[in-house]
């Protein structure tokens, strides 16, 4: 539990040290008779929005479909927790960077000199 509170809202970086979002949510595994355990971190999608405003999150999910496609990264792929949370993932293909790719391909990439 303490771990969940520590990593929540920390910066997530991928194997190449590229920023890929914040720890927007934490998946807890409830185990009977033993303390709950962090089983995954959630990055992107509407996850963070749920913590800001439920109505807004519900509206966004209707618009985007599903949970807005967050990336669930299993705790086994977390390499270290320090200033940032480093994970063993390629962010380039991760759904966490869906909007980054969208902005790059649709807007920024089309401007000369990008």
């Amino acid at each position: 539990m303490e771990l969940a509170r520590t990593v929540l809202d920390q910066q997530v970086i991928d194997v190449h040290d590229h920023a890929m979002g914040k720890v927007d949510g934490v998946v807890l595994e409830l185990r009977p008779g033993r303390p709950a355990r962090v089983s995954a971190i959630v990055v992107g999608g509407t996850t963070a929005l749920w913590r800001v405003h439920r109505g807004l999150a519900r509206w966004a999910e209707r618009k985007l479909g599903g949970e807005g496609h967050p990336a669930r990264i299993p705790w086994s792929r977390v390499l270290r927790v320090g200033v940032d949370v480093k994970v063993d993932t390629e962010s380039e293909r991760s759904p966490a960077l869906r909007w980054e790719r969208w902005v790059r391909d649709r807007i920024i990439g089309r401007i000369p000199g990008a």
């Binding site: 809202d9 910066q11 920023a19 979002g21 913590r51 800001v52 980054e100 920024i108 000199g113």
Partner: protein, 405 residues
């Protein structure tokens, strides 16, 4: 040697970067309306911003976190969104004011109305950010910003009475027009303590990979840099106090302000004023455009960095690509740049507790600062100044907006 160079560069940045449309306009208004009397507000604002800059640098050097990053982590998303919204709004209005300042300088030089310069100016700023190489741009505008030292020359030419000026560094009660006096005081403080300054500084320190060995440099740079910067703002106030105040001229339009330098220095003074206004405001516009992008990227975990190509940090680039033209539209719409500037500065003062208190909490958190946390002096000074400024702004803004007296 290289550390000495960095200190020198930091101080130059402080001098060249301190003066922008906000501190220029508010200091000129204060000097014209009240003579030296409001010099204390510049001193108070300068002390406050020096402490804040030092803190933002120390946070970056010790914890390797930028300010938005640490805020998001420490206070969670909900609180961060509130701070994000307030800082973005205030910074956006200041950005529009700075673009307005550049446009006015171009109008004074060319005769073509400031409104028509808004889009070209924003376009040029965007191009510089887009093409990157910010280190060069920042150092370039800071070095060119030394032209603002012309105000010091102008002030000396006017032979200010040192004793009277020194005694006005202590706060005093107004003798006439109290509403205007307090409103001008808070807009001066708001102009000095613009949040973009310390957010920008913290991003720069992380980008330059500061560590604890930079703490000494950081202390010197923030203290001396801001100190000299405040000195230039006092020089503006002195010029206005000695040129406009004796004639009973109050500053209602920006067009009146160049006269404070043209009177003591002649045609050179006029040219130096126009150059100072254009360079100082353009440099500030670049910094604010970037700071808006830093704030969003660092708070929401996007890839950021001015040395990355735009397509490598697409959302980061998107922020300034949208913010600059949007701010230009405010000026193109014909909003009076002086009114916009002064109002933005007062609003900055009003929002100080929201922008400053989270930083103070972080600076006293051993998780981030270890044994490099704040002492009671810096805590008390920043907390005191920002709350007083906020309360005074809360009273003075409605009086100024609706009272007219």
């Amino acid at each position: 040697m290289s550390k000495l160079f960095e200190i020198a560069l930091g101080i130059v940045t402080g001098i060249g970067g301190f003066l922008e449309t906000g501190s220029l306009a508010t200091a000129a208004q204060a000097g014209a309306a009240f003579g030296y009397r409001l010099a204390w507000a510049i001193l108070l604002g300068t002390v406050c911003i020096a402490f804040l800059i030092e803190m933002a640098g120390r946070l970056a050097a010790v914890s390797h976190h930028t300010l938005p990053d640490a805020m998001r982590e420490r206070f969670g998303i909900t609180f961060f969104v509130v701070v994000f919204a307030v800082v973005s709004l205030v910074s956006f209005l200041v950005l529009a004011s700075e673009i307005g300042g550049v446009c006015l300088a171009l109008q004074f030089a060319s005769g073509v109305s400031f409104r028509w310069w808004a889009l070209p100016v924003a376009g040029l700023a965007w191009l510089l950010l887009w093409k990157g190489n910010f280190g060069l741009i920042e150092k370039g505008t800071s070095l060119l910003g030394l032209v603002t030292l012309a105000f010091v020359v102008g002030a000396l030419r006017l032979h200010p009475a040192a004793g009277a000026l020194a005694s006005s560094l202590l706060p005093s009660l107004p003798t006439h027009e109290p509403a205007k006096y307090w409103f001008t005081a808070v807009s001066i403080i708001g102009a000095s303590v613009s949040p973009y300054l310390f957010y920008f500084y913290s991003a720069g320190a992380v980008e330059d990979e500061w560590d604890v060995s930079y703490l000494g440099i950081n202390r010197l740079v923030s203290g001396l840099g801001m100190g000299f910067g405040g000195f230039v703002a006092v020089a503006v106030l002195v010029c206005a106090a000695l040129v406009l105040h004796p004639l009973g001229i109050q500053v209602d339009r920006y067009e009146q302000i160049p006269l404070i330098l043209a009177t003591p220095l002649g045609r050179a003074g006029f040219v130096l004023f126009v150059a100072s206004l254009a360079i100082a405001c353009f440099g500030a516009a670049l910094e604010i455009g970037l700071q808006l992008a830093y704030l969003a990227a660092q708070g929401f975990g996007w890839r950021w960095g001015e040395n990355l190509r735009p397509r490598e940090a697409a959302r980061f680039a998107l922020v300034y690509t949208v913010a600059l033209p949007l701010a230009a539209l405010v000026i193109l719409a014909g909003v009076d740049p002086l009114k916009l500037t002064v109002f933005s500065m007062a609003l900055t003062a009003l929002s100080l507790p929201i922008t400053v208190v989270p930083l103070l909490v972080l600076m006293n958190d051993r998780m981030y600062l270890g044994d490099q946390g704040n002492g009671w002096v810096s805590n008390a000074a920043v907390l005191g100044i920002s709350f007083i400024a906020c309360v005074v702004a809360l009273v003075a803004i409605p009086l100024q907006l609706f009272g007219g007296g």
